[in-house]
Symmetry: C2
Subunit: 623 residues, 2 copies
């Protein structure tokens, strides 16, 4: 086997050297290096008022817990949509529905977003996302850009990345980044190999109910599972996932998880796993249907790969998958056809933890080694099937041909790109045109905001002969992955339709009421330009009076059926805020635990008399 | 008195008509109207990699609770700095210091940001901000872009806007937006005029300790106090604030607070108030030194103004202040000199709530009435002292000359501008060049993100003969005000210096330790590329093991003294995340209330081996 992976210590020195090298360039030199036709670049990214961006970019917000929505090519940040963390701007985490979805958790670490697909193409209907911080998955509706469901993923610790979705959104596969004992029980790290497992979850989606569901789980070996991708076309029944720490080290992974020359790609056939579940080939563990590969045989294989890989990416034609050791100078092209052939022939190099291991040479098609390129992390594709790989250590994007292995172009980015995203890049039919490098380090690219800098996204024009960085955009921490979709695929609604069957909704002043039930006060109110009406029949319709200790439930309907007229509802000093979008009914529940006088006001500027859109919440003290 | 204020009902109809008018224009028409030289506009706003923006824009984040930092002219969003709401991306609200600062509150409504000043000019050292949601004030240090202090403002309900700061940052004045009973006790709205008050707080700032302090309060009448400004130069000892609801209505303010033709501007001499406090001319109420104007006479005056004014703005030369009824078609220019003269002569039109009322005619210099302009909210100034007023209802910026009253130029903005901000616009020495309209309504300006749209900021080039909108930028909810400062005035640090006197900090591996004290576990650890070391002396230095129920205190120091190398620290499943910026020591405290196995990981991508920067938090179950 060719020993092309240098020792980790040498690579770290190389990484540091590369960082210093770029840091030493003057701004002018870097500008010249990356961008010598400012004039045309300015035109390329400018979207004048009255025109719209061509693509939406959905970028994971990392430990912000949220999703960032951008327009491309302008790279303007249009909206942050709250997903796993509370967001006071939208009342997310305060209103009853979102509070229930978030449960006991106050934050998340949103890693990998994936659009729903039909026939391997983004259909623009839903977005899925995972939470590494508190092990959850979420579903976002793209008519409203709001989260509809969040599930906890048991036995899993950091579902780092879905296998994106399969070609018709049959499944989203959630591998675990960290191995933990099944049931998450306490177990000493001395018992790591025996008691810890790397559980992967197969999640399905009911689009009628807008609910996620765990169909089954697979108890893989106690390794770290990193990135993954679903097969396409000929490989549509399959998926691939990278692993690291197959050494099963329990401390100082920086050194100890880089000992073996090879880690593995997990290659599995989800149709076969589905059949195993149907046939009862699983154990019931912690309430989940769990496949133990050493016992329930079939459907799962290991492919050796250069150590510590990050991304694994299936080509648009579904024929190949590309992976790389992240400390390596090379990309490896694997062939699904060769893998299928080897599996058919049972051409295995033994087993690991009860899973058959395919021979590297039997599946590998070619190794691609651009000169001095270092740290390949992730690959995207254009309309011709050409590959674009981010090089974290040498800070560049390398364009190459997966058919020939030829390096076609290289462009420096600033600095240390983790992932990149191409227009419709994860579909069977990418658009080319644009690639965005998601850079981890900005250094002095932008005005300084203190010791912690923003991350940086750079927009690369793919339409010319040479790749060209045409815009650099700072971004809040921290995009780990993104998808870019044609703007016209997303069909939003502009107001919520009336729902006469909703018992909480009131659509006219005379329906408003405040109802007391024992120690509970239920308010059925409306928000409209420019007043609140909680009970139209009383002297002060914009006042709510309760007793200290009462449970208060406020249902509020925005009866301005008019695009962009959102109202907020806050009670000063009571630490709560919710929003009602046009036509929407929203609910907030809380206990009136502080006696006194608390003004109510609209938090979302709505009209010339917005400042007057107020009322009072009065809490009579206990005697 | 000239009756130039039409009835509110007519104005509302006008507002609606104006909205419909703009909504009916096609995108192309609007584009042509506002922007006929796209090519040059693209160039004007494009900042190529290697160059930097010319100005920082600090925009209030409204009910997001945070501050948004932008670069101008690129209008790129560089960073969201958390202030009044938790922010998981930076661990703000989880680490001990920020958690203590936020106290019991989980969100805020950040309205008005103000830079510290020296001689009436921004000095680039600090930023102040107020919270309308939970009545607080905050101090941000601009070396690090982090909040250093937050205070609760008692007796006040929604300190809507500081009087910005006085010319040498002697005071920030916080008027209340909503009147409440002093001490916030329960009182029926039937007793509004007797028991409710509109308390203003005078806040001082200790730059050595980086602490805010309430020097004294003033119990003004139970009105709503809206915007304010400090005097400059000749008026440097004075400040002005707008009021509305001087009708003292207690319900349906949309109608009832627009009954009287006039509300007031409160004009006060803070040097005189300071002297009154020194002389003991106050009552001690709820632990505060409180001036009751009806009893402690002097220093405060009322100036009649067109009803329901929003902004009041002092000209750069300090000679005039400009205010407008927000439902009116006119701006009124008032003269400080005339006001001083009238005060000297005691030329009053009686008193209101014990405060002398100046005669409108004695203080007013001129009324300026641009044809068909409606809804003047706020005025900024350029280097020649020319005024730029936002017209909420007619959706435009009007440029005019405060000396002559002449209208110089008008430009439509999309849509409904609340405030605007000019480069160094609140100083004695504005720059001109750029004005940014903070528009409340975006409608279809950007790719749709559902029924609730972003707000919109538009950059206006002031350098040509005509004002020109050169960029439109979506923004998260919701900028209410902003200040724009020359980039070179802000001097950030790039790493935190070593602090050998900090008992929580450790700077080398051999200093790391885990110390048990009864039921408390204290960890003194380090974060470095690419590992955590909590106790270097044990077998697994990146493991923390505790017993269920233990109190855990983790001090973590980032020993990568290298620009932009921030580490995160999260425990999967334990719902916590903090960050340590380069050189920084940070602390998190929590109770280990769940037994089991919980991976620790770095949340902020820091190196090629970031994925390996992990450990385990093991919690032994109670027997």
């Amino acid at each position: 086997m060719k020993k092309w992976v240098p020792a980790a210590s040498g690579l770290l020195a190389g990484f540091l050297a590369a960082t210093v090298f770029f840091a030493d360039l003057s701004p002018a030199q870097r500008s010249e290096a990356s961008n010598d036709t400012n004039k045309s670049n300015a035109e390329k990214v400018y979207v004048p008022f009255g025109e719209k961006d061509e693509y939406y970019l959905f970028a994971s917000g990392g430990h912000s817990g949220q999703m960032f929505i951008y327009g491309v090519p302008s790279m303007r940040h249009i909206r942050t949509v709250p997903v796993f963390s509370k967001d006071s701007a939208t009342g997310y985490g305060w209103d009853t529905h979102s509070k229930e979805m978030l449960g006991d958790y106050t934050w998340g670490d949103l890693h990998h977003p994936a659009f729903s697909e039909k026939d391997g193409d983004y259909d623009g209907k839903y977005m899925f996302a995972t939470d590494v911080g508190n092990s959850r998955a979420a579903l976002m509706n793209l008519e409203t850009f709001t989260v509809k469901d969040i599930i906890n993923v048991p036995n899993t610790s950091g579902p780092h990345c879905a296998a994106f979705v399969t070609s018709n959104t049959e499944y989203m596969f959630l591998p675990t980044r960290f191995a933990v004992p099944i049931g998450r029980e306490y177990a000493s790290l001395d018992e790591y190999s025996e008691k810890y497992r790397g559980v992967m979850s197969a999640v399905t989606f009911d689009d009628k109910k807008e609910k996620l569901n765990i169909a089954y789980q697979v108890a893989l070996p106690p390794w770290s599972y990193d990135l993954s991708d679903a097969g396409k076309k000929v490989s549509a029944d399959w998926a691939v996932m990278t692993t690291y720490n197959t050494e099963e080290a329990t401390t100082n992974l920086e050194i100890n998880a880089s000992q073996a020359d090879r880690d593995y790609i997990v290659l599995f056939n989800w149709k076969e796993l589905e059949k195993m579940i149907k046939d009862g080939q699983y154990d019931e563990v912690t309430g989940q249907k769990m496949i133990f590969p050493e016992k329930h045989k079939g459907g799962i294989y290991l492919v050796p790969v250069a150590k510590s890989p990050h991304g694994v990416d299936v080509t648009p034609d579904g024929k190949r998958f590309i992976a790389s050791g992240k400390l390596a100078p090379a990309m490896t092209v694997f062939s699904f056809e060769k893998a299928f052939e080897a599996i058919k022939k049972e051409d295995f190099a033994g087993e690991r933890n009860g899973i058959p291991v395919l021979k590297y040479e039997s599946v590998m098609e070619k190794e691609v080694n651009p000169e001095n390129a270092l740290g390949p992390l992730h690959t995207q594709f254009d309309e011709k099937g050409m590959a674009y790989t981010t090089m974290f250590i040498s800070s560049e994007i390398v364009k190459w041909d997966p058919n020939t292995g030829e390096t076609l172009d290289r462009v420096p980015v600033q600095y240390s790109p983790g992932h990149s995203v191409a227009a419709e890049g994860d579909t069977v039919d990418p658009d080319g045109k644009y690639l965005i490098a998601l850079n981890k380090i900005a250094k002095d690219s932008y005005l300084s905001v203190g010791p912690s800098h923003p991350e940086s996204m750079q927009l690369i024009d793919l339409s010319g002969k040479k790749m060209e960085v045409i815009q650099s955009s700072p971004v809040n921490p921290e995009p780990h992955y993104a998808q870019m979709i044609k703007a016209d695929k997303i069909k939003t609604i502009s107001v919520y339709p009336k729902d006469e069957n909703n018992p909480d909704a009131v659509y006219s002043q005379d329906q408003t009421k405040i109802v007391r039930k024992g120690n509970e006060v239920h308010v059925y109110g409306i928000a409209m330009r420019s007043k609140f009406i909680f009970d139209a029949k009383v002297e002060r319709p914009d006042q709510i009076e309760v007793n200290e200790g009462d449970k208060v439930v406020i249902h509020l309907t925005n009866i301005d059926f008019d695009q962009d007229i959102t109202h907020g509802f806050a009670i000063n000093g009571y630490d709560l805020n919710i929003e009602v979008q046009p036509g929407q009914t929203n609910t907030i529940e809380f206990t009136a635990d502080k006696a006194g006088t608390f003004p109510i006001y609209c938090t979302n500027f709505c009209s010339a008399l917005h400042q007057e859109m107020t009322g009072y919440f009065l809490v009579k003290p206990k005697k």
